[in-house]
């Protein structure tokens, strides 16, 4: 009984010593709208074009594989040829992120590996049309 009280009392003091030291520790939370965190590479935001160092641009050939694989028909891609026998290149690439489930089938099946997940996490919008992302414009802005 006495032993219980002494040991219990000591554990209470130890607990209070732990918390009082916390008061002077630096805070660990990030003040979100004022500061932003860098996301880890495994994070899945909406898709974006990868930039290849050889061409300095994306490598999308507008094959339409992503468009056909997409389970929610989020992707709209159109391409055009620069001259008669050249490869096609994407001239329009839109996604409607409000329907995207981030399944990653487009990224996994892209034959030129030009699609990747972005680190975007600020994804709340005021209107449903704000969820539409123009990937080509996004690539040009980031370059």
């Amino acid at each position: 009984m006495i032993k219980d009280i002494v040991e219990g009392g000591w554990s209470l003091i130890a607990g209070m010593w732990v918390t009082i030291r916390r008061i002077y520790r630096p805070v660990v939370t990030v003040q979100y709208p004022r500061k932003y965190l860098e996301m880890s590479p495994a994070y899945r935001g909406h898709i974006e074009f990868a930039q290849f160092p050889e061409t300095g641009s994306h490598n999308c050939v507008a094959c339409g594989t992503c468009m056909r694989f997409c389970p929610t028909n989020v992707i709209k891609v159109q391409g055009e040829k620069t001259h008669t026998h050249s490869e096609k290149r994407a001239s329009l690439y839109f996604i409607d992120f409000s329907h995207c489930s981030l399944c990653g089938l487009c990224v996994a099946n892209c034959p030129t590996q030009t699609l990747k997940f972005s680190g975007e996490y600020d994804l709340a919008h005021y209107s449903r049309w704000d969820g539409v992302v123009d990937l080509i414009q996004r690539l040009e802005e980031s370059a």
Binding site: I5, L12, G15, M16, V18, T19, I20, R22, I23, R25, P26, V27, V28, T29, Q31
Partner: protein, 334 residues
């Protein structure tokens, strides 16, 4: 000045003292609650390595005022199947005795509204009202969570009142008076906390239980009972319960300061400083309140049987033994 003279002439010195005192106490209660809610949130935040309120005013000090405005502007919802009269009475009944208790608390040598010779008795008599109001509120709400919270509050407060009063009794035997100023005067040589540390410890534990604060916040256990006895209250009625809780903290800490920590007297060895007594008093009181907050954010909530076992099997026997031993010691000394 003439208006002041008119007031004194009209009411007479005694009544003036009471009116001015009550206005002062009302102001103190509000400002204290505003400050304590902010302090509680800051202490909690820093213990959990967060910042806490910081947007409204410097260091977020005006946050509680904004919260108060929000609560006042909200609708007072009275659910359909409640006992209307009791439901409306409970928040008032929980808040009024708080005001009465401040009448006899000696903030400094001369700053006391009425130095009654039964001061201590008055405080404990009126703080018991709190239990009744909580029971009325919980019962009138016609809600199982409210009722359970109220039942728990009554069981807990009745149990913890016994060791609380037993320890206070040994202080009273030592100072030979129930008058608050006499109790402070009896500590002019050595504070009671050094002379009877066990009593001080028991008092602080029981006071935490009396004010329903963690780790004894079983009556309003959020994870089990939604909000306990004030589940059905909204707007200013809820705010009154909240105000009463923080004012009760102030009372309990002020009584602890008076009984065990030398009241308005300076800290040992600092008597040469030209600091008025009320600053010493409030410094000690708020240090005690800080300790209560520190305890709240350190320890998890007790289970109900643990709470009752702790009271009936440890606190009451120790308090009784303490009373008997100190009665003998005081008899021998005198």
């Amino acid at each position: 000045m003439a208006a002041w003279q008119n007031l004194v002439n009209f009411l007479g010195p005694d009544l003036t003292r009471i009116v001015v005192g009550l206005v002062g106490v009302l102001a103190l209660v509000q400002v204290n609650a505003l400050f304590l809610v902010w302090l509680e949130r800051k202490v909690a935040a820093h213990i959990q390595l967060r910042i806490g309120p910081k947007e409204v005013g410097p260091f977020g000090i005006l946050q509680t005022i904004v919260d108060g405005i929000k609560l006042v502007s909200k609708e007072l919802i009275t659910p359909r199947h409640v006992d209307r009269k009791l439901f409306m009475l409970a928040p008032i009944a929980v808040f009024l005795p708080v005001l009465v208790s401040f009448v006899v608390i000696p903030f400094s040598e001369r700053l006391i509204i009425r130095d009654m010779n039964v001061g201590l008795l008055l405080i404990f008599a009126f703080s018991t009202f709190n239990v009744l109001a909580v029971l009325v509120g919980g019962w009138a709400s016609n809600n199982k969570y409210s009722l359970l919270g109220a039942v728990r509050a009554v069981a807990q407060n009745v149990a913890y009142e016994i060791p609380l009063l037993l320890t206070v009794l040994s202080v009273v035997m030592w100072s030979n008076s129930l008058q608050m100023s006499e109790i402070v005067a009896s500590q002019s040589k050595v504070w009671n906390v050094f002379w009877m540390p066990v009593a001080a410890l028991i008092y602080l534990i029981c006071a935490t239980a009396e004010t329903n604060r963690a780790p004894f916040d079983i009556p309003e256990a959020e994870s089990e009972l939604v909000a306990g006895f004030h589940t059905e209250y909204s707007g200013m009625r809820f705010a009154l319960f909240f105000l009463a809780e923080y004012s009760n903290m102030l009372i309990v800490a002020a009584v602890a300061t008076t009984l065990f920590f030398g009241g308005w007297k300076s800290f040992p060895g600092l008597g040469f400083l030209p600091v008025p007594g009320w600053i010493w008093f409030f410094a000690k009181t708020y240090v005690l309140i800080f300790v209560a907050m520190w305890v709240r954010w350190t320890f998890p909530r007790l289970r109900f049987d643990q709470l009752m076992n702790f009271c009936w099997k440890i606190m009451i026997p120790v308090a009784l033994l303490h009373l008997i031993v100190y009665a003998g010691v005081i008899k021998i000394i005198n």
